[in-house]
């Protein structure tokens, strides 16, 4: 969670959903000028995923839903079903138009291609 979000919460802005919120585990890697963010969000339907990229800040949110097991008793409980939320600051310049998000098998993959910029100009140093 970023300080910004934390500050907002301290100012009394509350979340609109209840239940625990977890930080999803992520892998971030780069391949041929494209940044990939892969986040684990088991139990989250693609309809309930929100990806926001604004001013170099990437926010991912997911709401997991679970059907209760009717007429059953608990034997073992190792995980809670809740929401996922995580924020990243992306330093590189990203081509917002080409940002894509895909949800498959509880894994959210966000593709962030870098903006196509002309290669840096080489500056010749002249001897004085």
């Amino acid at each position: 969670m970023t300080n910004e979000v934390k500050q907002k919460e301290m100012q009394g802005i509350e979340r609109t959903h209840s239940g625990p919120t977890y930080l999803p585990l992520v892998d971030i890697y780069e391949k041929e000028g494209t940044l990939f963010v892969v986040a684990e969000m088991p139990g989250v339907d693609e309809k309930n995923v929100e990806v926001n990229f604004e001013k170099g800040v990437l926010t991912v949110r997911g709401q997991a839903e679970e059907k209760p097991e009717e007429g059953m008793n608990w034997l073992l409980k190792e995980y809670n079903v809740g929401n996922y939320e995580r924020t990243f600051s992306v330093a590189e310049s990203i081509d917002i138009e080409r940002v894509e998000a895909k949800m498959k098998n509880g894994l959210l993959t966000i593709t962030l291609p870098r903006s196509r910029r002309p290669d840096a100009k080489k500056i010749q140093v002249n001897m004085g």
């Binding site: 892998d27 890697y29 041929e32 684990e40 088991p42 989250v44 059953m72 073992l76 509880g106």
Partner: protein, 147 residues
Amino acid sequence: MRKDYYLNPWNEMDRLFKEMNHLYRQFQTGTPYAKENSEFPPINMWSNEEKITIKAEVPGIDPECISIKAMDDTISISGERKELDAEKEALTYHRKERPIGGFKRMFKLPYKIDADKVEAKYEKGVLRIVLPRSEQDKPKSIKVLVS
């Protein structure tokens, strides 16, 4: 299985250590990391007289790479968490939190199940297994005859 766990004092130390790390991180960020102090995959289990239901969070794992073996009153779930991209050489990791490698979990169930009728479904990264109780194992109600 539980008994073996407590025979080794390091298991408990290890668990405490993980829990302290977890608490510390939670204190720092305000948000707990998803299910990090649990073994993989984390499991939820329910039962009634008729059946046992198991749910496991296995995000991003190809269902074909998960093996479920059930016999009498035991079940094992195993598989492998693989690297994401086949072309590993061409990519640079900035952050790697998702572990890779094999996993296996075994459980002793409260009663014998009918292994032929076990059903497993994989949806949205969650595995759901339903294990019906074996017919022979079901409690029979016995009528008391009045002579």
